[in-house]
């Protein structure tokens, strides 16, 4: 099952490599990974998506907690949560295609953030399914390149991951 884990991490050199190393060392999967400092400059917040059965996810959570640099770990998928991912996508846009792609972008509430004579650069924000759906939707268009940030997420309500 797919899980979103949120990790508060000491903002120290090498701390990210410990997290990534743990996954490769123990044969766990990382599907997406995003990390940046928080409002507290001594802490980074890392969000990763992974998949595995309950036993594996439990071990992942426990092993993350065991890392000295990890302050807190929470599995967002255990409760109601919001997840977002941002995708930038450069797509060939000539003649008739231009209107069709624009329509599609509007339907997905995305934006065209760069334009030239032969291509659009499109920005879409949403959960990962929505991003996948957009790629499906413009199926015939010629995608020149595509980049996704990976998932970020927060628990709904007042629950928060902090010191």
């Amino acid at each position: 099952m797919r899980r979103i884990l949120s990790v508060l991490l000491e903002n120290e050199p090498g701390s990210l490599s410990r997290v990534v190393g743990l996954f490769s060392q123990r044969g766990y999967n990382i599907d997406t990974l995003t990390v940046a400092p928080t409002e507290d400059q001594t802490l980074s917040r890392l969000t990763l998506t992974t998949h595995g059965n309950d036993r594996v996810i439990e071990q992942i959570t426990k092993n993350l907690n065991k890392l000295i640099d990890v302050v807190k770990v929470v599995d967002l998928t255990e409760g109601p949560h919001i997840e977002r991912e941002l995708m930038l996508l450069k797509v060939k846009a000539n003649d008739l295609q231009r209107a069709e792609i624009k329509r599609c972008v509007d339907i997905f509430r995305g934006q065209i953030v760069d334009v030239n004579a032969h291509a659009y650069t499109v920005q879409i924000v949403g959960n990962s399914d929505k991003l996948d759906a957009f790629i499906q939707a413009i199926g015939d268009a010629d995608i020149l390149e595509l980049v996704r940030t990976g998932v970020s997420g927060l628990a709904r309500g007042e629950k928060s991951l902090r010191l």
Binding site: G14, G21, Q25, K66, I68, D69, V71
Partner: protein
């Protein structure tokens, strides 16, 4: 506040961390620290002959005392040579701090001479690591390193220090922190009360209980609590390879080691148990055999300080995270005031069954020597003789292979921290340097290194260190002229095709070799001289003695789990007999 150079701070912080002995090897990036060492006498540095030995020696010190071992090496090859020893300590949860020199800060990343990314290379085999960027951070970092290494589930910590950070011309105020607090690191100090209650109920309801205790009981100094609990439950106790000595080996309730080369009664009792109390053990693959077939009718209570050890390979029914001594004490206390009581007739019946298994022994209770085979020495009898001569009270280190298993089976350890071996990583070459660490930390004690002619050659250069520092360890070399355990597997699984496991005529004369270092060499070839020569060995209190003992080349270690696809109770009991 006192102003000190970075090099001086390293040494002073080691002293303030309680280090008496620092095992190491100098080199360019560590020279400022070595110069500071030269100018003081609080921390004694011991020069080994290879950095691997420094880590094993510090490891032996740590295992035998419970203190944090300390190592100092230089950058590059010094650091990489230490890696095997760090991994050994990591696998067995041994507290150790390894300080490595690093190239100067501005050269990091340039592929400078003797540069290696020590923090990167060691990352998967350390509990934590630090790269010190400034002289003002050295003392606090070393203090943190010792705190992390020795607390919670212990383990090795690397502190990598660039050369310019230790430079003598840059002096900064020295302050060793009195208290250490790390917001992201708070080991559990107490077991969960509700889980302990459930455990009590389950233990008292057990008809066929077994206590399965591991290295965590030794590391957590929980031996006395383990004994008290086992006595009050009248439950059989089996120890893992790492746990030997935590429960007295000569006690009636002790049913021997379990696992791949465990006793028939321990493995069979585990298989039939209805409740297993696992304490400080981690259900290692060398214990469980095939996990799907592991102890089919047992409820499992698992006490461990490290939550990741719980339900990793075998799911626990009642997990209890906490230090072994504390949790066992709580169990003992609550056992006294529980309303439930044991089914004593079931326990009696269980013991009758276990004693029946005991009588069908898979290991030999009488001398293994058989006069009809001539004067040949069986390796098991060497260990028995070692036990007799040392009164069962020696520190025994070992290398890895058949000799290790024979020592584990036949030397009945009655105290924790006496059996010092590389259980997890299985590091050949561990025994001799570990024995040096034990000997230095326990002056006057009998320290025996049980080894084989294969393992001993992996760190044999340390005979020179023994000479320099007067470390009178006794080397018990079970010489069968082959890599015995490899050959055993080749006998059992590869139709005796001895691929690269035989030394032919290439072995040195170990007696002369020992003598060339200034030690005593004794060769033993006949069974009838074994006991006498063993006694002679241990009568030479102040000398290193190398006992080169020619043993039966065809001997196998039994019992041995049937693998793959076997359960706990599936064992070979001899070359021809299996359960």
């Amino acid at each position: 506040m006192e102003l000190l150079s970075g090099g001086e701070i390293v040494v002073r912080a080691l002293k303030d961390a309680g280090v008496k002995y620092l095992w190491g090897y100098p080199g360019g990036a560590a020279l400022h620290i070595y110069d500071a060492l030269f100018q003081q006498s609080d921390v004694q540095h011991i020069l080994v002959r290879h950095e691997q030995a420094a880590t094993h020696a510090a490891d032996g010190h740590a295992r035998s005392t419970g203190e944090v071992g300390a190592v100092l090496v230089t950058s590059g090859p010094g650091a990489t040579n230490a890696i095997t020893g760090i991994a050994t300590a990591y696998m067995d949860s041994i507290p150790m701090v390894v300080i490595s020199g690093q190239v100067p800060r501005e050269k990091i990343g340039d592929d400078a001479f003797q540069e290696t990314d020590m923090v990167g290379i060691s990352r998967p085999i350390v509990k934590h690591s630090f790269l010190v960027k400034d002289a003002t951070e050295i003392a606090a970092t070393i203090a943190k390193a010792f705190f992390i290494a020795g607390s919670g589930r212990p383990g090795p910590v690397v502190v990598d220090i660039p050369k310019d950070v230790t430079a003598p011309n840059h002096r900064v105020p020295y302050e060793y922190p009195e208290k250490i607090k790390i917001r992201s690191y708070q080991p559990t100090v107490k077991g969960h009360a509700g889980q302990i209650k459930r455990a009590i109920k389950t233990l008292l309801g057990a008809k066929r209980p077994v206590i399965y205790s591991g290295g965590g009981v030794v590391l957590g100094d929980a031996s006395s609590q383990l004994i008290e609990l086992a006595r009050s439950l009248n439950a059989p106790v089996t120890n893992t390879l790492m746990g030997l000595g935590a429960y007295p080996g000569t006690d009636d309730q002790f049913i021997g080691m379990l696992g791949m080369h465990g006793t028939f009664e321990a493995n069979t009792a585990m298989h039939h148990a209805d409740v297993i109390l696992a304490v400080g053990a981690r259900f290692d693959d060398r214990v469980t055999n095939t996990t799907d077939k592991f102890c089919p009718s047992a409820k499992i209570i698992h006490i461990d300080i490290d939550p990741t050890s719980i339900s990793k390979t075998i799911a626990a029914d009642i997990p209890i995270v906490g230090p072994c001594d504390r949790v066992l004490q709580e169990l003992i206390d609550q056992l006294g005031c529980s309303d439930d009581s044991q089914d004593e007739s079931a326990i009696t019946e269980w013991w009758t069954q276990i004693n029946e298994w005991r009588d069908r022994h898979g290991i030999y209770t009488k001398p293994r020597h058989d006069a009809s085979e001539g004067n040949i020495i069986k390796p098991q009898d060497v260990i028995r003789s070692l036990f007799n001569v040392t009164g069962g009270d020696a520190f025994v280190t070992s290398d890895v292979g058949q000799h290790q298993m024979f020592a584990a089976q036949y030397y009945l350890f009655n105290k924790p921290r006496r059996w010092i071996n590389s259980g997890g990583l299985g590091t050949m070459g561990f025994g001799l340097p570990a024995a040096m660490g034990v000997q230095l930390a326990n002056p006057g004690a009998d320290v025996a290194c049980v080894t084989g002619e294969g393992s001993i050659q992996m760190c044999i250069q340390e005979l020179s260190t023994c000479t320099q520092y007067g470390l009178p360890v006794k080397i018990i070399n079970l010489n069968n002229q082959a890599l015995g355990m490899v050959r055993q597997w080749q006998d059992m699984q590869y139709s005796s095709r001895y691929s690269s496991s035989i030394y032919e005529d290439s072995l040195p004369d170990f007696v002369k070799l020992a003598e060339s270092y200034g030690h005593v060499g004794i060769k033993v070839t006949h069974f009838d001289e074994l006991e006498e020569k063993m006694a002679e060995c241990f009568s030479l209190k102040d000398r290193v003695v190398f006992m080169d003992i020619c043993v039966d080349r065809s001997e196998h270690v039994y019992p041995m789990h049937v693998a793959p696809n076997g359960s706990m109770r599936d064992m070979w009991l001899s070359k021809t007999e299996r359960t």
